[in-house]
Structures are given as C-alpha cells and as structure tokens.
C-alpha cells in the first residue's frame, strides 16, 4: 500500500519531457519532488506563474511570489508571470499538457467531485472546474477510500460535481486505474496489495483483464 509520497512518486512517472504541468493542492504538489531531473518540464500555477521552482530558502520568502495554495515559492530560470485571464487561457486553451489534482469522489464515467460537501464544507472550486473542463490529460491523485472507509471510486458521484466525463487516470494508495467506457480499468497494483483488496475498495465497475502487475 502506498502513502501520499508513494502516490506522488508513481504519478511523477506520467510526467514526460516537454510537458507543461498544473499541480493541484495536496498530494499533487508533492509530484514535483519526484519528476526525473533529466527531462525538461515546467510547472504552472494558476495564480500566474509558469516555471515555478521549489520553496525559497529561509529568509528569502517574497510576499509577491506564491503558488495557488498561497505558499511562498521561487521562480526558475525561464519563468514568467502573468494575469489570471492569461493563466486560464493556458488552461482553457489546452496549452497545459497535464493536470494533476485531488478528488473526494470519481465516478466510473470519469465525473469528479472535489469542491463541496453540502451543509458541511464549502470552500469553493478555485480553478478546478476550469482545469477539468478543459484538460485532455487529467490524473487524479487520491486515497482509494475516505476516512470512514467508504470507496471514493463510485458508480455515480454523490457530491456536487466539479466536472463531467473528464478524469482519464487515477492513482490511489492501492492501484493505478484508467477510466474507460467500460469502467475503472485496473492497470497496476500497489506493492503488497491484492486484487481482492482493490475489488473490495471499489464501488464502481472494475475491469480486470489478465495479470495485473505490481507497480514499479
């Protein structure tokens, strides 16, 4: 079974040379730490930076330089700053190659819910609705089940949707799955996780064809 760092590490393998990548808040942010250093990748943060670098050294924080999670960051050589409309032109115009974000629920059709729990939590969608409605290549990073142990891979989402039929791939603490027209297609198992465990933790349709390898 993977922890959040393991999930981030596995997703980092999906980041290819030449990609512009938008990372959501939470586990997705960790992905940047595991991307191969021999490829050229630029991270976009929707508040207005392309070429985002690591956190600043202590004492070098700049209040005018943050990411979408409001964390202080740095800019790498070749970085650029821009306004919010330009930022979402990059996203909506499909110039960003890969979007990685967290979710509360994903349905077998690729619907995603991650912005609101009616009556309990309303933080807002931020840029998530623009990202999921526009991106061709969306990977969801999340735990397979919620804190109560209920599956987050469902037939239909029960929470208010962020987007419809948009998620392509899911990496959880248990598995890597593609969203296909037939449902969640199991591609890889996390280390020491059995197919039975994955079946038990998945409420939506699960497609299992042939041998399912353990993640490398």
């Amino acid at each position: 079974m993977l922890d959040k760092f393991g999930i981030a590490k596995r997703i980092a393998k999906e980041v290819k040379n030449g990609y512009y990548v938008n990372l959501g808040i939470g586990i997705p942010t960790l992905v940047a730490n595991f991307v191969r250093t021999d490829i050229e990748v630029e991270f976009q943060s929707e508040n207005g930076i392309l070429g985002m670098g690591p956190f600043p050294f202590e004492g070098e924080e700049d209040a005018d330089l943050i990411n979408a999670g409001k964390q202080t960051i740095t800019a790498l050589p070749g970085a650029s700053y821009f306004d919010s409309a330009t930022s979402f032109s990059m996203i909506r115009g499909q110039h960003v190659d890969l979007t990685i974000l967290g979710a509360m629920e994903v349905s077998e059709d690729g619907d995603i819910a991650n912005w609101k729990i009616p009556g309990r939590m309303v933080k807002g969608m931020g840029g998530a609705m623009d990202l999921v409605a526009s991106a061709d290549n969306i990977i969801v990073a999340m735990m397979h089940t919620n804190k109560a142990g209920a599956s987050k891979l469902l037939k239909h989402c029960s929470l208010p949707l962020t987007g419809v039929r948009c998620v392509k791939k899911i990496v959880t603490n248990l598995a890597v799955l593609d969203v296909t027209k037939d449902g969640f297609k199991l591609l890889e198992r996390a280390p020491n996780v059995s197919i039975e465990q994955i079946k038990a933790a998945t409420d939506g349709r699960l497609v299992i064809e042939g041998e399912i390898p353990e993640m490398i």
Binding site: T72, I73, R92, V122, G126, M129, P160
Partner: protein, 233 residues
Amino acid sequence: MITKTVNSIQEALEGVSDGMTLLLGGFGLCGIPENAISELVRLGVKDLTCISNNAGVDDFGLGLLLQNRQIKKMVASYVGENDEFERQMLSGELEVELIPQGTLAERCRAAQAGFPAFYTPAGFGTEVAEGKETRAFDGKMYVLEQAVKADFSIVKAWKGDTSGNLIFKGTARNFNPNMCGAANITIAEVEELVPAGELDPNQIHIPGIFVQRIVQGSNYEKRIEQRTTRPQP
C-alpha cells in the same frame, strides 16, 4: 498626458457608497489593495457586493470588511481560509456566489474588453451551470457566462505613473490587470508612484486609459498566508 493622480486614499474612494458592487484585485493576500480595504473599513460603507477571488483571512484583507458586517454578498472562487466567512455563510447572514476561477477572470476581462458574455466549458454539468444557457460547439458543451458589472474596481500595482500606467510584480499581478477598466471607475493604489515619463512604455502592463484614479499607497504589510521554506544549504 492626462493626470490621474489623487492625493489620498480618501480622495481615491470618493463616491463609494452603501449597496455598491466592488471588484477587488488579489489572490489570497497577495496583491490586495490594502490601503483601500482599510479605508473602506474606516468609511463603514455597508451592504457591499464584493467580487474578488478570495475573501481574505479572519483578520486581514476582505476579512476585515466581513468582521465589520459590511459585505452583503461575496462573489469568489475559493473561500477556504476564513472562519468568520464560513460562519456568516452557513448562518445565512452572507450571500455567496462561488464561480470557477477562470470564469471569474474572464468575466472581468470581458467587461474590460466590451464583451457582454462568452462561452466556457468550465462548470458544464455542475450546479454552476444551473439556469444558464448551454450550447455545443464541435461536439463539446459550453456554458454562457456574462461580463461582470461593477461600480468600482479597486486594484493594487507595484509601480504606477501619474498617467495611470501600471506595472505589477510577481504573482501579485493575478486578477489586478483583468479588473482594470471592468467597472465604471477604476482605482489603483501603487507602492511607488512616479511622474509620467519615468516608466519605460515597453514595460507597462496596463495602460492608463483603463485607470481613472491612481494613488500612492503606504505602510504595506504584505502578509504571507503560508510561509513555506526549505533550509539554507
């Protein structure tokens, strides 16, 4: 040259009154018009509709106006860092409209650019699209969103000149340029106000035509919301 300078933040906010709709720049606490927010608190104008990406934190930014019960309605994309906001929203004291961040930016830009509305894929199939016109283009569904309408737009820039030309710094740019010229009157507060001619025209982010009043700001706190660092090597 047309002079846009006003001598004080009081003068800059002249005409702002109860019940008005205000656009306010900033992302989190980054690039917010601190001086204007303080002056709005001092003025005590109420029943405001505030359109801004976020709602500040409990004791800074738009949180100050919330504490004072000056906001009737908040239009934002993300409001996660503010307990007082959540309390007022759940108790029904505060009206809230949450809209996708890119849609908010584009609704501002549309107002600035004279477009009444535009189609965006964001929010299709969600509650954001409820009651809105939808339409297919090349087999993909889009939602019709309208330009914002506001009485005042209040932005913050790094440098500006007496003609109203603006230059922003880092990610403090965010919504500020998009909100310039998106309301009846645009007010810009700047960290450094210089005479016209001192800024390189090649480096101007927002031309002065989009700005009606510019004022030298003071005492910027520039509070950091999430101070994240790595150890010195």
